[in-house]
Each structure stands twice: as structure tokens, then as C-alpha cells.
Symmetry: C3
Subunit: 439 residues, 3 copies
Amino acid sequence: MTAPGAEQDTAAPERGELHALVARLYPICRSITGDGVRRTLEIIAEQVPLEIHEVPTGTKVLDWTVPKEWNIRDAYIKDAAGRRVVDFAACNLHVVGYSVPVHRRMTLEELRPHLHTLPDRPDLVPYRTSYYHETWGFCLSADTLAALPEGEYEVCIDSTLADGHLTYGEHVVPGETADEVLISCHVCHPSLANDNLAAIAVATHLARRLAAGPRPRYTYRFLFAPGTIGAITWLARNRDRIERVRHGLVLACAGDRGPLTYKRSRRGDAPIDKAAAYVLRASGRPHTVVDFSPYGYDERQYCSPGFNLGVGSLTRTPYGRYPEYHTSGDDLDFVTEEAMRDTLETVWEILQVLERDRRYLNLSPYGEPQLGRRGLYDSLGGRSDTKQAQMAMLWVLNLSDGDHGLLDIAERSGLPFDVVADAARALCDATLLEPVKEC
Amino acid sequence: MTAPGAEQDTAAPERGELHALVARLYPICRSITGDGVRRTLEIIAEQVPLEIHEVPTGTKVLDWTVPKEWNIRDAYIKDAAGRRVVDFAACNLHVVGYSVPVHRRMTLEELRPHLHTLPDRPDLVPYRTSYYHETWGFCLSADTLAALPEGEYEVCIDSTLADGHLTYGEHVVPGETADEVLISCHVCHPSLANDNLAAIAVATHLARRLAAGPRPRYTYRFLFAPGTIGAITWLARNRDRIERVRHGLVLACAGDRGPLTYKRSRRGDAPIDKAAAYVLRASGRPHTVVDFSPYGYDERQYCSPGFNLGVGSLTRTPYGRYPEYHTSGDDLDFVTEEAMRDTLETVWEILQVLERDRRYLNLSPYGEPQLGRRGLYDSLGGRSDTKQAQMAMLWVLNLSDGDHGLLDIAERSGLPFDVVADAARALCDATLLEPVKEC
Amino acid sequence: MTAPGAEQDTAAPERGELHALVARLYPICRSITGDGVRRTLEIIAEQVPLEIHEVPTGTKVLDWTVPKEWNIRDAYIKDAAGRRVVDFAACNLHVVGYSVPVHRRMTLEELRPHLHTLPDRPDLVPYRTSYYHETWGFCLSADTLAALPEGEYEVCIDSTLADGHLTYGEHVVPGETADEVLISCHVCHPSLANDNLAAIAVATHLARRLAAGPRPRYTYRFLFAPGTIGAITWLARNRDRIERVRHGLVLACAGDRGPLTYKRSRRGDAPIDKAAAYVLRASGRPHTVVDFSPYGYDERQYCSPGFNLGVGSLTRTPYGRYPEYHTSGDDLDFVTEEAMRDTLETVWEILQVLERDRRYLNLSPYGEPQLGRRGLYDSLGGRSDTKQAQMAMLWVLNLSDGDHGLLDIAERSGLPFDVVADAARALCDATLLEPVKEC
């Protein structure tokens, strides 16, 4: 791929920097609204400037309504001896997200319907939420529950569910054109490292790297927003911008040790789909490419039929496919610096293909133009070991009829994309080629 | 598949009823015209009302002309001792269909050109016809022929070939729309159980089952007509109705012990083609799906390029692929109640898919609609074991852009068709979906 | 395939005739211009009349300019003893094509930059050219070079590079229509038998065979021209004729012992592509079919995006895939009469398919027409061994809706092309079919 040269050296994350960012964000109790999201965005903003949006409770956004804001200070279950047997301060997964406040004494029997465990993984605390149905609950390990004696307990959730705001942040790297690439990741999960702090770290450092380099062709918009309602809110407030979104990637589960998985956009053959498949294949990395399905992360919203954007999703192990998914097992040990850097590098390479990929028009389409006269072709004929660069020029000239882009040409010729893109540049310099005007 | 519920219990054939109908029809000597067809239609009409059509000899039908009517009372070959060595009364295959009358004495040598046998299957009597070339002949087993001594024989065919009529019957199950599904089977073969009495029995009981249930979406037209000339006559007399035929099935060879074979329409991707392939695959039954070819049964006529209807053909073992085909071996033992019921059930399932399959429009296509508010989605988030019904709703919403039908959605999602169709119904009830107006 | 009957007997090459023509052309020193090309065309013209074109140096042709004309009389390297250690008279590959004149004494050290060898094949003399960059050089075997002692040598190339002409020849076999089939082969290589004297011999005898038969449907244009610049010159001078070129074949490497390789046109599904693939597959010959690439012979020019003609390329072993390629190993022993005749026969069969392939319209498209009435169908029904010819008629009738050609029908039905084409003729005779008017 394109050797990004100097700018990479400047902006590349220090060894350990990605994991350090994850570790800093990990303890914060995030949800789809509230101070956890605000604090998270503040920390991201230390790395890249963010525009923060606050959208009031009750705002109509597409088919949805911005919910009340939820904040929580403390929560526990105390046994008869006053000991905290379940403690929010030790692990914020213990409270069902959006739990309404409660403070009372009740028997274990009365409490049970409010307790969530994972019988199959008795050592892990599950992650549960109840955003749109007012209730309260606790999550705990099945082992902990099994150890609780019958009797009376003091139950307390010191939370607030009240009118307030939904918060999200945007960072924009301006490009030569107003056409946008959207990089989106959800910021609504509490202490879950892979889902989605790793992707937040990758996106943050990707933004830095882009900003540190030469002005890109596309404008890059980074969206840090709560899942579902955040993406829906952004879509609702950016209806006029959406048609500018040419390509996009939802980043999630970016830090586990598994191989990469690219999930195609609903279109299935959007440029991002082709670029991602190409980069993964060309890299030789083990990987999987799967078709779109209307379940997963915010690609569900971007790829709803009314928008139908060319937005794919890149993860390592997909949601639900690892036992630690949505449990206390998704912790700081579950994600690695190396995996996050590999994800970051892959996204970078995909974006480099999108940056360079375009359709050109051969300005001398009748017969081959005389490349030798222009210094683009070996002067000594008869040899059979024609160089890759010359072959790339012949392919670019032959297929640049306005219907084929450079990535198509790379795929068809079997030549590396960068060699093809370099050939196109040389042919443009020789005024044998010009970019097709995109409408 | 759809559990057809109460109506199935009412209209389901009694154990043995299909085979009993075949057995009743078996002895009748049918041909493309004549009293054998009339008697056959009378017996069918005991089960489902039939409209009988009589089309006079000489009527121009497309490129053809309705031929003279043929009837036969008796036929035999008597040896010198006056014994019937070949006897029409014992097996109506013995006479070449449409044989002109003959009564004379001739040597075996003179008779030979009029005798047809199957040297490869010396125990079987072949089935032969000569509809459009006036001649006469006998069919007999090669063993019988080998046993005949030289000498003189009395040859008699007491038949009539004279102006008359071609007869066919129709049964219509009215539906909510004038769009029709055509179920067609040929009624012109004499004592051949699989070809085509089994299909007649399946079609008859299918008609009863449809009529006993709630009014279907489509109007179902059952055609019991002689092969080729019958279908051509029907097509010629129904030119204005043909454009209403949305789907169709030619049923034949419906009772042998082999697995099912579906032969695609000439279009290759008509809805019936997709529905049949889906049902066969989903059923787990061993089966074969083959491309259209212009040979076989009356799909040849319905799929001629001028009509090009979406008519496929369902058989068990296809014509010519079993040694008993068009011989006295295709008898009552060759077909089974179980096979016919399996064919009937398969056709029923295909029709249920056609009934429910249609394209819908997502009325809230920008982002996902909030299903939870409408009671269509689990209130507790975070779990990874989302239910099939919820997944079906997401798929239906995502792909209901007017281009995809429910069967397409089932194929793409891997979800059962009925789950997808139920999801569509639930979404319609929630006014999130509406059927695309078919033009 | 079509038995070409009497005309084949008349025009078929005598045993050994193809190889004899190659042997006669072999010693001539050809290049992209000059007397070698003229002499070559004179010899071809002994077999088929040629129209000779002389295009002056400096003529603008598409993006190119006709170069100076090159002629050579003698060349050598003499050692100190005056012995010719490299001698053009012994092998015309010894001189780099288009070498400017030189005559001087120089040390081996000074000479080395002008010497070309093949270290991997030390016994062979390479073939090198320098058409558009004025230089001079010698080609010799690595063994010869290794044996040369240091010291002074006399170097002489007695050549002329001066204003003159580029020469090419055309032969036309007139057809019933002005639509053309272009058969093109390059005539610019010196003593290389397979590349391209074998193809010249095949093309010459193909032209004789076509001219000896009945007037074909297409007009056949045979082009004998220098590679690249010759094709470009022809294209530049025939801009108004090019749209008449319906099909074309570039012939090269037609005489080695390897199996045939067909390279598709840039379109990939042009009629020639389908016909060649069909003939090769149907023949049972081992063969390869490869996609177009913008490297090879003059298909590069015919398939440049501005022209995008339906021109494929037929070779035996493709360029660069045999060790003798562009070396003195490509000699008279490397090509065989048998291989050339096999190439010729294959091209002939491809052309026969193109001649007969067309789209027809069923004039009786509603239902099957009654073939029996017209004597086109067996009168005795009931048999399952329907003949191939009858099946072909049913297929032709069924698919002749204007969208399918006869080759499509042969492919889809699995019937031999000639049987299908004969069926179409019979149906035309019965006025059931008529050719689609090509626009």
C-alpha cells in the first residue's frame, strides 16, 4: 500500500498509546445519555478537537424521541450485615443501564426478578440495559448470586432519570472536496473494553493521523455517538449533509485478538465494500468478509433503506461471537495494543484506496498511444519481461473508458492497486488521461 | 410452512382416496378426444364441479385444427383357432391410439408392419398413438409376438374416426383477485397410472382443499385437457384471459416412488420457479430442479415464446426416465398413495408461498423505526440471543424498498418464509409496512 | 462441424504446403518497414492476390508517426584475424532491428554495451529491436560471447535508415454483406518461424479456402502488416470501414506443438468469443481460453477502448510462454505442418459458426406449430427416443424470440451447433422462422 511517509511518522501512535486511551476511558460509566458520555468525549477531545452536540430530551428524531437523561452516582445491594455484596463502585456493569432510582429493603425472593446473571458463564457479570422501559435491576455473576443467603437486603440505586440532553461529538478533517467519509463508533457502553473503547481509540488515532498528513481528497467526519439513538439523532439533524456521504465505516470490537471481519454495506458493492475486500485480501491477513444484515451496530441506521449509504462495518471478532461479549470478561486484558494497531492500519489502507480510486478517461483511446515517445516505455523491444509499471499503464489506458475505476483495473489485471494508481498518475502527467468528472 | 389448520382437516383426502380415484379412472380408454375423456371428466366432477367444453372437429386453434373424434368399442387379433391372442378388452394399450377401423384376415407377415413391441422389455406392452396420420396398429409384448405362429389371423378394430368434438374440463376456485394460478394436467392417456392419472388425482384433491379453505388471494383454474391439442385449444379460446395467468404448474407423473423433480418455466426466474425451489429445498426432501426444455408436457405450450407464461412443471420421476414409462408397466402398483400425498403436500406448500409472497414498502425507511414503542421488540437490551421473529422484522423493514419480495427476503436472511411473512403481517398491523400496488 | 464438401477438397493445402511456405519466408530479414516486408508480401501474393499499400515516412497515424524505412544489406563483427565471429548473413537475428549504420574498430570492452545475449539460454541468439530510439547493436549467443577474447574488433552494420515507406498488404474475399471479418497477422519479424510465419501461412491458406468456396455471408479482410505500427496505420486509414468489422481474429504463434489458446476480445462476450470457445470445447481438443489483456499482438490496437472491436486472438502456445520465443530456437523445426493445419481447421470451424449463427424470429410463436403437418415430425407418438433433429427444431422455435442466436441455442440445449443450424434452415423453408433483420 501507499507508504504514508513522513506524516505517518509524525502521527503514528506511540507504542502503547491506544491501550492507554482505552484504559483511561474504561472506568467511566457510560450510557446513551449522561455525564459518562460527556466525560468520554472530553478525554477524546484531548487528542482531537471535538464539536460537542447537546440535544434536548423530547426532541423528535426520525421515528424516535430523544429520551430522558440518565445519571448514576452509586448503587449497591447490602446484606443483613450491611456489607455491599453487589457494588456499582467496583464494577459499573452491576446496574442495568437506565435503572430508575430505588432504595428499599426486600427479601432475596422479592429481589430475584431484578437480578440478571449468566448461568452458562457463572463467573461473569452480564451487561444489560432498559432504555425505553422504566425499570431497575442489577447484574451479577451467577456465582455471587448462588452465594447469597435468603433473607433481607438493602437495595439502592442512586440514579436520576430526568429531562436533559443526549450528547455526541464530531471531529472533521477537511478535504479537497465536500464529499465525505463517515467514521462512526458508539460511545454508550460502560466498562466494556472491546465494545467499544478499542474502536474509539482506533478512530481517535485515525483522526490524528489524517489531520497530520496532507489535505485528503475527501472530508472525513468522525462521529462519537451513543448507539442507535445517537446515530438516529445525527441522521435526523444532518438530512442535507447525508447525500454528501460517499463512503463510511462503523468501527466496533476493534481490539480483540481475533482476525478482522468486514461486513458489507446494504448495497453490497459500494466502493467501500470493494476497497475493504481488496485491502484485506491483498494484505494476506486472515479475515472474513460477510454480507450485510440488519443487525449489529449503527450500520443498521446508515443502511436503512431510506438512506442506503455506502457504509460498511469493520470489527475484529463480530458482536456476540466471543464469550466475553457484553460481560465483565470484556476487560482491559481482552484487548491488545497490537490488535488495535492492526485495525487502525487496515482502516488506513482502505481509506488510501478510496482516496486514490477513481475513474479516468483515456484521452487517446484509438489504438495505443505511443508511450515510448513520452519516455514511458522501454526503448528496446523484443523482450518478454515487460515491467509491472508498463503493464499497469497499458491496463489503465485500455480500461479507462469511464466505466472502470482504478480498483476495478487492479482487480482485473491482478496488479497491485498502488502500481495501477501510480500508472494513472504518470499517464495524467503525460496528458494521456484525465479524471472523469464525478456528478 | 403455513399450518393450514381446520380447512385441511375438512378437505384432506381420506387415507387411500387418491389411489382409489386412480383405480377408478384406470380402466377407461382415453385418447385426445372421445367418450373416454368424457367419462373421465364425469368421475372428476363427482369430486369438484367441472365446466365441460366441447369444441367441434375442424375448429382452428392457433396453428392447429381440432381433429376428428375417435371412439373405440372393441379390437382383437384372433388366431386360426378363433382365440383372441391380442385383446383390447384385456388391455386398452393394445390398440394404437386413433387407429382407423379395420376388419380382415391377413397373414402374420402382412400384419407385422402394424405390430409394435418393446424388444428391450419383452414382457411389456408399449403405448403408441397416431393422431395426425391415419393408420391402424396393435401394441403387444415382444413375448406374445414371439409366441405367434405364422399363418392367418383375423384382425379387427371396431373404432370410429369421425367429426365430433374435443372435450376438456375446467374448475375454478375464485380468489380475491382476478390474477390466476393455472394447474394443468393431461387427461388423454389410456391405462397408464402414473402418466397421468396420479396427477389428475392430485389436482382434483388440491382443488377440493383450496375450495374448502378461506378465499385465496389468487383465482385458481384447474384444467383437465388432452395433451398438446387440449392445451392449445384452451390457449386459443382464452387469449384475453392469458395475461391474467400469473403462475402455473403442469402436473404429471405424480405418483411413482421416485423423488420430486421441478422443471423451471422458460423464464427461469418466475415466482413459481423461486417458490418451488425454495419449498423443495426447505423441505429437506431429496429432489431435483431442472431448467426448462421445450419437450415434456403442456409447459411446452404455456411456455412457447408468444405466451411465455410463468408455468413450471412438477413431477416425481420425469417422463422417459423410468422403464415403465409409456408401457403396461405403468399400472396401479406403480403408483402409491404416499407418493401422491407427498406431491399434493408439496404443491400446497408452493401455493402457500405464492399466496403470501409479495413486495412491501417500508413506510418508515429512514433509520429503523422504534419497534419497542410498538411492543414489537424486547425491552431488555444487551442480550445477544435476539429472536427469529425480531430478526425477521428487521430484515423485512430493511429490504422492503419495493424491489424485494418476502421470498427474496427469506432467501437472503436464511429465515423460514413463514416467519418472514408473519413479520410482514405484524409490521403491516403496526402501519410500518404496506403492500406494493401491483400494476 | 459443417462438412465443407467439395470446396475443401479443391482448396485444401497439399500435404506439406504450409510448412513449405514458412520455409520460403524464413530466410528473409523483415522489420516494421523495408524490403523484407515487400518481399514477404510478394511471396504471399503468389498464393492470394494482395493489394499493397505504401505509406510514406512521417505520415501521422493516430497517436503515432510512420517511421523512417530501414534496410540492411550486411553486418558483422570481425576479430583481429578478420574472421566474422558474428555474421548477419548466417542469421539475421544477429542485428538489433532498426540498427543505424556503423563501421569502426573498437575493443570488446567498448563493444559490450551493444551486445545482447541470453545468459539463461547460452546457446540461443535473442531477437531485439530498437524502432523508436536510434542505436545499434548485435545479438549473439552467450556461448559465442564467452568465447570472444579481449582485444579489438571490426564492427560493421551496413544499414540504411531513411525516409521511405511502411508497407502492408490486404486481401479481400467478398461476401454477401459488407459486414467484415478481419483476419490479421504481423509480418515484421525476421527469421522466427512460429512468430509469425506460421500464422502467415495459415492466413494465406485460409484465404484460399474461403475464396474457393461459395460466396460467404461476411466479407473477409486479410491484413498482413507489421506489428503495432502496421495495425495502427491500417486503423488510421480505415476509420470509416471500422464500424463494419463485426468480428476479427489476430493469428500468431500458429505452428508450435502446444495446444491452442484463444484470447477473448476486450468485450469478453463478443460473438467471436462465444464461437471460438464453443468450437474449441466441442472439438474435444485440449485448449485454453483466456481473458483479454492489453498486451500481446495487434488485438491491443483493435481492442483499444476507442475501437473496442470484437477481435480475439488465436495462438497455439502464447507469446513468451515457450523458451524458444524471440530467439533463434524459433526455427523451422519448431513449427509443424500438422500444428498449422490444426490451427487452420480450427479457424475454419470458428468462421463456419459465425457464418451460420444468427438470430431468428419464430413466426408462429403462440403454442408449438404443428410440425407433423409439415412433415417435420414423426407421425407415431408415444415413443421416448425423439430424434436430435426434432429436438433442435423445438429448441429453435422456443428460443427464437429475437434475443437468442443459434449458438446460444446450441449452448443451452446441448445440441451440436450444426444440428441446430440445420433445424433453423428447415424451419425457414417451412416459413415457420425468419432471420432477424440486423440493424
